[in-house]
């Protein structure tokens, strides 16, 4: 545990007492009174600094415990409840310490404003102590951030290992995601305030939703973490960490919730309606894993069926289109048919008329008296010509 600040505070108090004694030996009462007041103020300051240092030490121990929990590599025995509790505590402590160091710094600046020659050393010293406390706080919060990142990585690794163990066919985890999507869409009330805390260091829950928000989240989270990460060790770093760590507390609970929902969703998506006769009793964790293994299998069967039926549907649609084309072509040919009909009507008309004409002509030819007279006269004329010739 880090007790340097306490030590420094103790040294300060001793020194101040030594100074008081020195000054008491050779000064007037006014300066004595002033020194007494300053010593009081300085003792106050040293007490505050000591308490802050102690609390930083406690936070550091908690952080060490958290790091140890996170580093445990078991597949089944990480304890998200403890980790989330610890994270919560550490966050609260960090915020409180931040506030206290802020107050201390203001106090120091206030006393430095009325700096006199004699107290300048003390003020400088107090300022240095404040700076040291702040740097310690920044280190602690950076360690906290690293622990959270470790936790994210370990959760992702464990999830990948689970997928590898339970999908021996080498199916990629993306196959689980469409199935996870539908059951995970239901606890949106849990997850949506989390999404609004956009800077989450744990990318796990966004991974489970859809691929495209995942990339957005990771992109978003990488930028602030990278910007804040290793740079300034001073107080500016610590407030920036808090929104980044703010979403992490609720992360583990939705992960549990998503586990539960995935279990139920795996069951309900298993079969289509008429064969759903399984009990809804929540089994032990082995059931969960088995369902995670079987659900993709049943999912595949259902997907095969759905693709086959979709093929049938598309064939039917094509057939519908073909029928429509057929109808259109026949309709286009309709006016051609009408033209032909009109033409044939004309032809019939014409021919009938011509036949009438010919009949009249034949009648004229066959029964005309004037024609007979003409023929008779022609014969007589021919006889006359012949008789005249001979």
């Amino acid at each position: 545990m880090d007790r340097t600040a306490e030590f420094k505070a103790a040294v300060n108090s001793l020194l101040s007492r030594g100074q008081l004694r020195q000054h008491n030996n050779g000064n007037t009462r006014g300066s004595q009174a002033r020194q007494g007041k300053e010593a009081l103020a300085y003792a106050e300051f040293s007490r505050l600094a000591a308490s802050i240092g102690r609390e930083i030490g406690e936070t550091q121990t908690k952080l060490d415990k958290l790091t140890k929990l996170v580093k445990k590599k078991g597949l089944f025995d990480d304890r998200p409840v403890e980790i989330s509790e610890l994270t919560h505590h550490i966050k609260q402590d960090l915020s409180r310490l931040n506030a206290q160091t802020g107050a201390l710094q203001k106090h120091v600046r206030a006393t430095a404003a009325k700096a006199t020659r004699a107290t300048r050393q003390m003020d400088e010293h107090s300022a240095n102590v404040v700076i040291i406390l702040q740097s310690k706080l920044a280190n602690t919060s950076m360690g906290f951030k690293e622990a959270l990142e470790l936790r994210t990585e370990s959760m992702q690794a464990s999830k990948k290992r689970q997928d590898q163990l339970l999908n021996p066919g080498g199916a990629p985890p993306q196959q689980l995601q469409p199935q996870q999507n539908s059951p995970l869409m239901t606890p949106t009330s849990i997850l949506s305030p989390l999404r609004n805390n956009s800077k989450t260091p744990l990318g796990l829950v966004p991974t489970a939703r859809t691929p495209t928000p995942t990339s957005q989240f990771l992109h978003q989270q990488n930028i602030p973490n990278g910007a804040n990460g290793r740079g300034s060790p001073y107080a500016q770093a610590s407030p920036n960490h808090y929104p980044a760590n703010g979403g992490s507390n609720g992360m583990d609970d939705p992960y549990q919730a998503s586990n539960i929902h995935r279990r139920k969703g795996g069951r309900s998506e298993d079969l289509h309606g008429s064969y759903e006769d399984d009990s809804e009793a929540a089994g032990p964790a082995s059931m969960l894993f088995q369902q995670q293994h079987y659900a993709p299998q049943a999912d595949q069967y259902i997907q095969n069926r759905s693709t086959a039926i979709e093929a049938v549907e598309s064939t039917l649609q094509e057939l519908g289109g073909i029928f429509q084309q057929l109808a259109q072509m026949v309709a286009e040919q309709r006016d051609t048919v009408q033209r032909i009909e009109a033409n044939t009507d004309d032809i019939e008309l014409n021919i009938n008329e011509a036949q009438n004409q010919l009949l009249r002509y034949y009648r004229n030819i066959s029964s005309d008296r004037w024609l007979m007279i003409k023929i008779f006269l022609t014969i007589i004329f021919v006889f006359l010509v012949i008789s005249l010739m001979s």
Partner: protein, 196 residues
Amino acid sequence: MKIYAIYVVRNNVKPAKAIVDVKDLASFGFFQRSSIGEFMTFMSQTIAEKTQPGQRQSIEESNYVGHVYARAEGVAGVVITDKEYPARVAFSLLNKILDEFTTRFPNSATWTPEACTYPELPQYIVTYQDPKQGDTIMKVQRELDETKIILHKTIESVLERGEKMESLVERSDVLSTQSKMFYKTAKKQNSCCVIC
């Protein structure tokens, strides 16, 4: 694509016991049939034991695939096929068989090979040898494809009909003109055109 065997196995007791089964091992040599049959029985009982109720699984083993579907009543159906047989058809066949079986013999006490007679099973294995015949979806798909082919031919015929109609139109136009000329000539003939 062949089905080799269909089993209905009772898997709520361990070891699992086959209730009814039918095998079609005609593709194997005569002397191998019995051993292959026994191996298939053993395999189907094993995988029926290992399947949880309500789950479907496809297990691949040397050159057979066993599709198993377990119902919650404690009975499971296993279909052993070769590798090319589509899994979907196998599972729909299993659905059908298990439905019929459970409606016919709902009492789990009567599940003994002697008491349960299931005569349609050999029929099924024959009809489902060709997955396109047996499965409803594939039958529909096949008929739709045939209809599509017929429709394509119909459209070609309609195109030819169009061409013929065009030629008909032209011909009727020509005829109409000619008949008109004929009429005019006849009319002219009939007017007073005196010879000489």
